[in-house]
């Protein structure tokens, strides 16, 4: 008893509790209200999982908060993919809540979001298959006791959902160990002459960034094992401004930057510029534009604004102005010095120059672009 109590205490004091702990009430309420068929070892039915992510009100009056704000279609396809026993690949530019969605999916489906492999350029095969406890191995020889299972292996044995973050960062040969796991649903252990067979309910959610340079693209053999869902950038400018200003606010507080009351106008401008260039069309939908090679994600907009705030606080009068963000925007947009510069100049001359109330911004941009 004492042990579990301590565990719970630590859980509640954790800087960031796991999804299944933070939303334990909602999950329990959903499970109680859920009378639809559940796939083997699923905690909830696919419908309830979708409701958990998208939010809603249960018949009993319990309010389920939305975890993901975006198209319903995306969540439905993701959940259904898991239900059809296919692996799910969440694609998107940074800052589109890929990890967030995968964590909540795992929490809702298996009640456990911790079977996680973080993909890096140095992820070894052991992280996906299994490793050895060398002390045990030397003293007793190869045995199941000396084996250190990976999160994926444990998920297979328990019939739970495993997660692989940043799959495209993992070296190609390590990626390919997933092929057997996903197609044969088994993980051989040649050293012991055994294998671990996946129990029903096992599945895998991978996330990957599709715009970064220098990633290890998935082999077509592996790609075929996944259903792909692309998480889009925020649908409306208002939603994005909201995300950016909220995040900037959080970041600013941790950096002790003064809050800028007039900043919202400048944030709106940054978001507008980013959205227009990203979408290749002006916000009124009347003029098409070329898109630069950079991703121009929401995350980058956030960093431009934070930078601008720091500039304004330390070198300006504390108010976020066009001049403070212009250089940051230029840096984010012009990644390829030749092609992107033309794109940016065109945008400045054909769109920004004509716009009412953007004179200062135009001048500031001309200054830094020259």
């Amino acid at each position: 008893m004492t042990v579990t109590a301590t565990g719970a205490d630590i859980g509640s004091e954790a800087l960031r509790p796991h999804a299944e702990d933070a939303f334990a009430d909602e999950l329990a309420a959903l499970a109680a209200a859920d009378d639809r068929p559940r796939p083997a070892r699923w905690r909830l039915s696919p419908w309830a999982v979708a409701t958990y992510l998208l939010g809603g009100t249960l018949p009993g009056g319990t309010l389920i908060t939305p975890k993901y704000v975006g198209p319903r279609r995306i969540v439905e396809v993701a959940v259904t993919t898991l239900a059809t026993d296919r692996a799910l690949l969440l694609l998107g530019v940074p800052g589109t809540a890929k990890t967030w969605v995968s964590e909540h999916l795992a929490a809702a489906v298996s009640g456990d979001s911790t079977l996680l492999v973080q993909g890096t350029a140095g992820t070894p095969e052991e992280a996906i298959r299994y490793g050895w406890d060398y002390a045990q191995l030397l003293s007793r020889g190869p045995s199941r006791d000396a084996l250190v299972p990976s999160p994926v292996m444990r998920a297979m044995a328990e019939g739970a959902t495993a997660r692989v973050e940043e799959l495209t960062r993992v070296p190609a040969d390590v990626q390919d160990t997933l092929i057997t796991i996903l197609s044969e649903k088994t993980l051989p252990i040649p050293e012991l002459g055994e294998e671990v067979q996946a129990v029903r309910g096992f599945n895998l959610i991978a996330t990957a960034n599709d715009r970064d340079r220098g990633v290890n693209d998935l082999s077509s053999a592996l790609r075929r094992r996944f259903n792909t869902v692309v998480l889009p950038l925020p649908a409306t400018a208002e939603a994005e401004v909201d995300i950016v200003s909220r995040r900037v606010d959080q970041l600013g507080r941790s950096l002790d930057l003064p809050a800028a009351p007039e900043g919202i106008e400048e944030i709106r401008r940054v978001v507008t510029v980013f959205r227009e260039l990203r979408d290749g069309v002006t916000s009124d939908g009347r003029t098409k534009l070329k898109s630069p090679s950079g991703t121009l994600s929401t995350a980058e907009a956030i960093s431009v604004v934070t930078n601008g705030l720091a500039l304004a606080a330390h070198f300006g009068d504390g108010v976020l102005r066009s001049g403070d963000v212009a250089a940051g925007i230029l840096g984010a947009v012009v990644r390829d010095p030749a092609a992107d510069r033309v794109v940016w100049q065109e945008y400045l001359e054909t769109v920004v120059r004509e716009r009412d109330g953007w004179k200062d911004f135009y001048r500031a941009c001309r200054e830094v672009s020259a």
Binding site: V77, T84, S220, R224, E346
Partner: protein, 790 residues
């Protein structure tokens, strides 16, 4: 695309069962959704089961005479019944039929069995006489009450009651995805075939009770006419009559009313003389015709999908996925059978999660995106274009009456006294005269429609923009072309506008759109211009090759001038052209760097073209300044080939935008010993080469000539043979007189260049004024300037 056959799937082999009992009291009213494949299937089953003696279909009775053509072998849906006012072909209405339209299915069923079939809707003579344009369904009431927002969307209301947020999806689930399920089979084939119609009829009755005509005031008149026709049919054929009409009208047709009341409703309706014919239709136009969410009368989003649902004998999702995989494979995407299997599984499960009875278009599209397209929407757009909408084009037999476009053309030809003559002849037009301008418009419009009656010739002698020369020749096959063009509209201007708009949307190259814009201006199609201009602005924004932009600009500037001559409003065009010029200004300097000799020559021509074009634009003043900045940047960039730099310097000089002595400084720089002789020779070619009057410049500005002369003498002997061809190309293009003068100046020697610099005045001219010669010019100037103050 496989060709669509007109075969009717489903049990058409209803063997004669004369003892079959008529399934209901009174006529059998089959309420459908127009262009609903499920409705079509259900209609077919009901007709097979009931075997009526006559079939009545919602549609204009003027089409009755043309109904037998529907069974013609040459008739391939999609086709449309077209009714138009005789003296005004522009007033027309279309009733489109696809292979999967319930009305079409009913017509074909009746014709195949020699069962009487008739249209019973309000005659087009009345509906066309009303100013609004009635297309199939209920669109025509918008003008009647002016407040379309108040109109009831019957399907929408029912869907909401059933807990669907999307009315189309509800109808699809309830009706379109119905197949011969086991439940209906067990209920007995007869009851099973009529059950859905009974349900729809009841639902609509409840709606009509609540909403009355629901904002479709005009419907009451139409329904009165339908009832009158229905009574007539019952007198003739007895009770065994089937009616196929929009579900909305079902309660009105089954309700009791007196013939007198109905006739009263129809009294005093306006009337016009009309003609009807069949015209070929396309899936794309089916999809375009109406706004989605506008009841069931309007267009449909996914004709290709519906055609598939209708024609697939079984397993529609599997067959659809296989089709999609085939399309993607043709486009070189690796799609295996495993992909198809997984896509089908995902679609079916997705439907279950969403609580739908069968995977619909939404589910299949989501599954295709996730499994076959790696989550990307790009290949999906292809699927939508080729399959979901589809490329199907209908055909109409030759025996169908002439299209109204032909009549309109004949009328115009009479009015303009332009006889279609098979003998070739030349026609001179003076656009300042009204008749000639109208003739020119007609010929240009016909060219847009692909009817090559006249071809423009470059005018003899006169180069004025108000003159046009045409070569006319009417070939018999042009009648066929006109018939083909009938798809686009009923009058020459509307058809040309529609075709131009369609071309603008589908054009991929910038040059295509610019030439289209030019043709639209020539043909005076102001309604097409906004679409063309939008397409132009879009293409210009996305075209990464500044060369294309630069080449497009002169054509646009030219178009602006046509616009002036023809007094059309070219403000939008001017705006687009200015935008294009801006983009050229931004993109040109980087595009000039690092070119070989041929590319540099091409770029020099573009520079010239853009330069003169910018001078013609309405915003010339402002743009000219920016353009000069661009030229200055080009002049100073070493990475730009000498040819282009020289030409840029020259253009600046001609515009008076180079400060005094600056041209000489630039030339000195370009010809300084550090520059390779070939580069310097190219600079000279760019600066004074070609037929641009460069020779005169050298004659008059001896400073420049001195610089050239000094450079030429300093070229090392071994390099001289290399630059000789370049120099020859430059100087041989001069007029003989100029060449001679230059030779004399050169013989006089460089010393002559010296004193010029010391003098004041315009570079190249002597100082002071020769009073005598100036006086001689003055009187001529007065005449030219019309006696104004000189």
């Amino acid at each position: 695309m496989t060709t669509q056959t007109a075969a009717l799937p489903g049990g058409t082999a209803g063997a004669g069962r004369p003892d079959r009992a008529w399934p209901c009291e009174g006529p059998l009213v089959l309420g459908v959704r127009h262009h609903g494949p499920g409705s079509a299937r259900a209609v077919l089953a009901a007709l097979d089961a009931a075997e009526p003696r006559a079939v009545l279909v919602e549609g204009p009775p003027e089409g009755n005479a043309l109904l037998p053509l529907a069974a013609d072998e040459g008739m391939v849906p999609p086709v449309a019944l077209l009714a138009h006012a005789v003296d005004d072909p522009g007033r027309a209405a279309f009733w489109p039929f696809a292979e999967f339209s319930p009305e079409w299915v009913a017509i074909r069923w009746a014709l195949a069995r020699d069962v009487a079939v008739r249209f019973i809707d309000l005659p087009a003579a009345h509906s066309l006489a009303a100013a609004a344009d009635p297309s199939w369904g209920d669109e025509e009431d918008v003008a009647d009450d002016g407040e379309p927002a108040l109109r009831v969307d019957p399907i929408g209301v029912l869907a909401e009651a059933a807990g669907y947020d999307d009315p189309e999806r509800w109808w699809e689930d309830v009706m379109e995805h119905r197949r011969g399920t086991e439940a209906t089979d067990r209920a007995g084939p007869v009851d099973g075939a009529f059950a859905p119609f009974a349900a729809v009829g009841e639902a609509m009755a409840a709606l009509r009770e609540r909403y009355g005509h629901g904002g479709h005031a005009h419907d009451l008149v139409r329904e009165a006419h339908m009832r009158i026709q229905l009574r007539a049919a019952r007198r003739e054929f007895g009770e065994e009559v089937a009616v196929v009409c929009g579900a909305w009208h079902v309660p009105a047709l089954t309700a009791r009313s007196t013939a007198t009341a109905d006739r009263a409703l129809l009294k005093g309706l306006p009337k016009v003389r009309t003609e009807t014919t069949w015209v070929p239709w396309t899936h794309r136009r089916l999809a375009r015709l109406g706004a989605p969410g506008r009841g069931y009368g309007a267009g449909i989003e996914s004709p290709g999908w519906y055609a598939h649902l209708f024609s697939a004998p079984d397993r529609p999702v599997e067959r659809w996925m296989t089709k999609v995989a085939g399309l993607l494979r043709d486009e070189d995407r690796a799609v295996s059978s495993a992909h198809v299997i997984e896509a089908v599984r995902l679609a079916v499960t997705l439907a279950a999660v969403r609580g739908r009875p069968l995977a619909g278009l939404g589910e299949t599209t989501d599954a295709i995106r996730a499994v076959m397209c790696d989550g990307s929407d790009v290949p999906l757009a292809l699927v939508r274009d080729r399959l979901t909408v589809g490329d199907v084009l209908g055909e109409v037999p030759d025996t169908a009456p002439a299209v109204p476009l032909q009549r309109d053309l004949a009328r115009l030809q009479r009015g303009l006294r332009l006889k279609p003559d098979p003998l070739e002849r030349e026609l001179e037009l003076d656009l300042r005269k009204d008749t000639d301008a109208a003739r020119s418009r007609l010929l240009h419009r016909l060219r847009i429609l692909g009817v090559g009656w006249g071809s423009p010739e470059s005018g003899r002698g006169s180069t004025g923009t108000f003159r046009e020369t045409w070569r006319l020749r009417w070939e018999p096959e042009l009648y066929v072309r006109v018939a083909e063009a009938g798809v686009w509209g009923t009058t020459v201007p509307t058809a040309a506008t529609a075709k131009a708009e369609s071309q603008a949307v589908s054009a991929t190259a910038l040059a295509d759109v610019t030439s289209l814009a030019e043709r639209c201006l020539l043909a005076e199609l102001p309604d097409a211009l906004p679409v063309v201009m939008r397409a132009l602005a879009d293409r210009a924004a996305l075209d990464a090759d500044v060369g294309h932009l630069a080449e497009a600009l002169p054509a646009l500037a030219r178009s602006l001038r046509y616009g002036d001559v023809r007094a059309t409003d070219t403000a939008a065009l001017g705006e687009v052209a200015a935008g294009l010029a801006e983009r050229v200004c931004v993109g040109l300097p980087p595009a000039c760097a690092g070119l070989d000799a041929d590319a540099a020559a091409a770029m020099r021509d573009r520079l010239d073209g853009v330069h003169s074009a910018i001078g013609l634009l309405p915003q010339a003043e402002e743009l000219g300044g920016r353009w000069a900045d661009v030229l200055r940047r080009i002049v100073l960039r070493d990475a730009v080939p000498g040819l282009i730099r020289g030409r840029a310097a020259r253009l600046l000089l001609d515009d008076g935008r180079l400060a005094e002595g600056e041209a000489a400084r630039l030339m000195g720089l370009a010809l300084s010993p550090g520059t390779p002789p070939a580069g310097a020779a190219a600079w000279i070619e760019g600066f004074v080469g070609g037929a641009s009057g460069g020779g005169m410049l050298l004659v008059h500005d001896e400073r420049l000539l001195g610089l050239v002369d000094a450079w030429l003498t300093s070229v090392p002997a071994d390099a001289f043979t290399d630059v000789l061809p370049l120099l020859r190309r430059t100087f041989s293009a001069y007029e003989p007189g100029v060449r001679r003068t230059l030779g004399e100046l050169a013989r006089r020697g460089p010393a002559a260049g010296g004193p010029v610099r010391a003098e004041t005045g315009v570079p190249g001219f002597g100082s002071g004024l020769d009073e005598q010669r100036a006086d001689a010019v003055l009187s001529v100037l007065r005449v030219i300037l019309q006696e104004e103050r000189v």
